[in-house]
Symmetry: C2
């Protein structure tokens, strides 16, 4: 349309640059063989992919051990270089979770929330530091991905200038088995879709939130609301495409 009208220049929003930091003593670089109790750094790559799909660009800051000073230094550098920062891991309240301490130590920092009523994804932090968003995401890869898709992504779309963000693609399917759910929080259940006798079925994929293969298998998520105790086999559900 712009070409037809001869408009060769338009003002656009700059693509935001999103910094990614992966923290945890248990994280080793992808090129290393993880010893007992260690795991390769998956989050840097899954988050980079999701950020690029959201239309933003990424800058990777690598792995930081559970070390307050190191995390503070790396976080300050990332905030200087980027428009927004994601730290995966260290967002909970344990003795080795330093994200909150790091935020508190920064100038002009305000913690907007710490902990949200969703599962997986509870230990999520959002802080405003000067005029930038600084996120603490859960370290488990499935939790980090779900928090990203449901919460961080609309935020990136907003700072990218979308004023009417794309709605999620949702498909209606029937649940293949009973599903329990705790009240008082929103549950996101990974599901695989399949057709059988003309009906689209959603089959829950169970597995711990550290298992990336469950996300590889999943086609989408079911959202079970705060006031729902569970869903019965055969119930009509909306599946949010992943």
């Amino acid at each position: 349309m712009l070409a037809a009208l001869g408009i060769q220049r338009v003002t656009v929003y700059k693509k935001p640059i999103i910094g990614i930091i992966s923290t945890g003593d248990e994280i080793v670089p992808v090129g290393e063989v993880p010893g007992p109790g260690r795991i390769r750094d998956i989050n840097t790559y899954t988050l980079s992919g999701l950020i690029q799909e959201s239309g933003a660009t990424t800058e990777q800051f690598g792995i930081v051990h559970d070390d307050y000073k190191a995390l503070l230094a790396k976080s300050s550098r990332a905030l200087n270089q980027c428009d927004m920062v994601l730290v995966s891991g260290g967002s909970s309240v344990g003795a080795r979770d330093f994200t909150i301490d790091v935020i508190s130590a920064m100038q002009a920092a305000a913690i907007l929330f710490h902990g949200i009523s969703i599962s997986p994804g509870k230990p999520t932090i959002l802080a405003r530091i000067k005029n930038k968003a600084f996120w603490g995401l859960p370290g488990h890869v499935v939790s980090a991905m779900i928090v990203f898709s449901r919460i961080v992504k609309p935020f990136i779309e907003h700072i990218s200038g979308y004023r009417a963000p794309e709605k999620d693609l949702r498909l209606t399917a029937r649940l293949s088995r009973n599903l329990a759910s705790a009240q008082g929080r929103v549950d996101y259940i990974r599901v695989r879709l399949y057709h059988k006798e003309g009906i689209l079925w959603a089959e829950p994929i169970l597995g711990k939130s550290g298992l990336i293969n469950t996300m590889v298998k999943a086609d989408g998520l079911i959202e079970i609301g705060m006031n729902t105790e569970g869903l019965e086999k055969g119930a009509e559900v909306e599946v949010i495409a992943l």
Copy 2:
């Protein structure tokens, strides 16, 4: 998943480079004011956008007038530099349509088809030149876009290594008015979607195939099969998302 398994290198298909040539005495560059009977070069930009959405990269070769020698020279250069070439305009059978002549003049060239039973989009050419695909697309922007989405895009996905191409996203809607259609060809009708009283309606957007604004307004296409004479208001239709 690859990060989790420590696989740092995988063999992938190279992104194909698709050359674009826009032909026609009536076409002027976007920066010029078109005189009577002239039009700005829209196709270079719409096709570039569609190609990039398909996961390929583009190389733009600009505008060629209705001149056999100039088109032959530019086409040879594009074929040397690219994995596939699209020429928009000049694909019909008029005195000023040189694409077929250019193909016939090239070594190791075979015309696979010239003319297809779809509307809009009839004057479409596919030739194999050595081991590359060379396409003649209609000059009207809507025709070129529809031929691209329905025919060229799956071809690009194939040479990009997709063996199970993404299926089109299709939504079920009801037609807002009667629609006539000629037998013996597949018709693609541009439609706008809207919700009214809980029903998703598809409203045909009528307009000549040179009008880019009809594609800007359209959310998708309805495909009316060869053996269908038309559709009635209220009929259930599948809308292929654009």
